[in-house]
Symmetry: C2
Subunit: 189 residues, 2 copies
DNA sequence: TGAATCGTTCAGAAAAAAATGAATGATTTG
DNA sequence: CAAATCATTCATTTTTTTCTGAACGATTCA
């Protein structure tokens, strides 16, 4: 229903909202993201209607700054859908429910760059060592063996990441139910 | 008895050591672990001989407390091998080079518990909602749809984790080179 | 048994990360 | 065009994490 109460009143989170916020807060911290990101996503996920930045900040009692930053994260991962409400200049957000989509973006933005950077670093280090030769301070055979291990490390991890990409490329086992009940049209005049 | 250098001189890290320490420090931070953990592993990885806790603390110029804590982490993940040197009461460590082994332990210790905890939390939340029914403050069809999405989330992620487990269960593509040059035998237990 | 050596633990210090909120720039409305 | 609305940015404050180092218990050695 339409919110009867006006400003300054903290609308008190329902248990439903609270549970989802807590849940995604944990997920967020597991992924090494600020907890506010999880909070925001949780609130959006719990909400049937799209919410504006101010809605979110007010409901969660966090600053607009944090909210803005958090929404940026979520946008980066395509974890949030931006919807436009007629007659309202503000931007409204709702939670993306497609896991694959989010996971792919997350991998691309948060994981791939690191893996790639490690690869570069390894290549560089190897070059340096090959140039410096035995001067580096350790036995050549030993360093050679270590370099081999490093390559294995990198290849192994990169392989795991590739596997994740593939896993999230295709829709999961459940069979794609297009989430009918969420498809409410809200853009009203 | 066999104490060669008892002075306070920090032996100055070689470029080889420095490079590896930096590298694993980055990996460590990526994984959400204290950077000292990465430093310690890097130093061990760079060193042909096993090192004692004091060796590590001294070379890295970090406190014994941090070193002890860091070594605990590494032991948890089987990222470190404990070796016993004859005539020395202290414990010596060297880096485990088998990626699979480390990855498996890491998954088991750092990832699996979270996934499981999420699962519990979801089951619990679902129960609560089913009991509370429409009282929870949102339309039943909507909450039902959301719960379905949550299940998909969890299953999807759990699937990814299982995939990782499988990936690291078997030795990686490279064909098992038994790491001959590292296989130095010193008093084992 | 007593002195010495080891490794761990934990309260406090230091460092790092995140949140805040006012200033900023951009866009729209009257 | 000026006023108003909106989202972002950034210097500062707050919170969280990590490191430190001395105290402690355990073990070994003489």
């Amino acid at each position: 229903m339409a919110e009867g109460s006006q400003d300054s009143v903290a609308p008190a989170l329902s248990p439903w909202e609270q549970a989802l916020i807590d849940f995604f807060m944990q997920v967020s911290q597991f992924l090494g993201l600020p907890k506010s990101v999880g909070q925001i996503f949780g609130l959006l996920f719990a909400s049937e209607q799209p919410l504006s930045l101010d809605d979110i900040a007010e409901r969660l009692q966090i600053s607009r700054g944090s909210t803005s930053t958090g929404l940026n994260y979520l946008r980066r991962f395509d974890a949030v859908r931006q919807t436009f409400v007629l007659g309202d200049r503000r931007e409204f957000y709702q939670a993306e429910t497609d896991t694959s989509r989010i996971a792919q973006s997350f991998l691309a933005d948060q994981v791939d760059p690191d893996i790639e950077s490690w690869g570069e670093r390894l290549r560089f280090g190897r070059q340096m060592l090959e140039l410096a030769g035995p001067l580096a301070g350790a036995k050549p055979e030993f360093t050679a063996a270590r370099l081999a291990v490093l390559d294995q490390w990198h290849g192994d991890i990169a392989g795991a990441v590739k596997l994740m990409h593939e896993h999230f490329r295709r829709p999961p086992s459940g069979g794609g139910q297009p989430d009918s009940s969420t498809g409410e049209k809200h853009a009203r005049g």
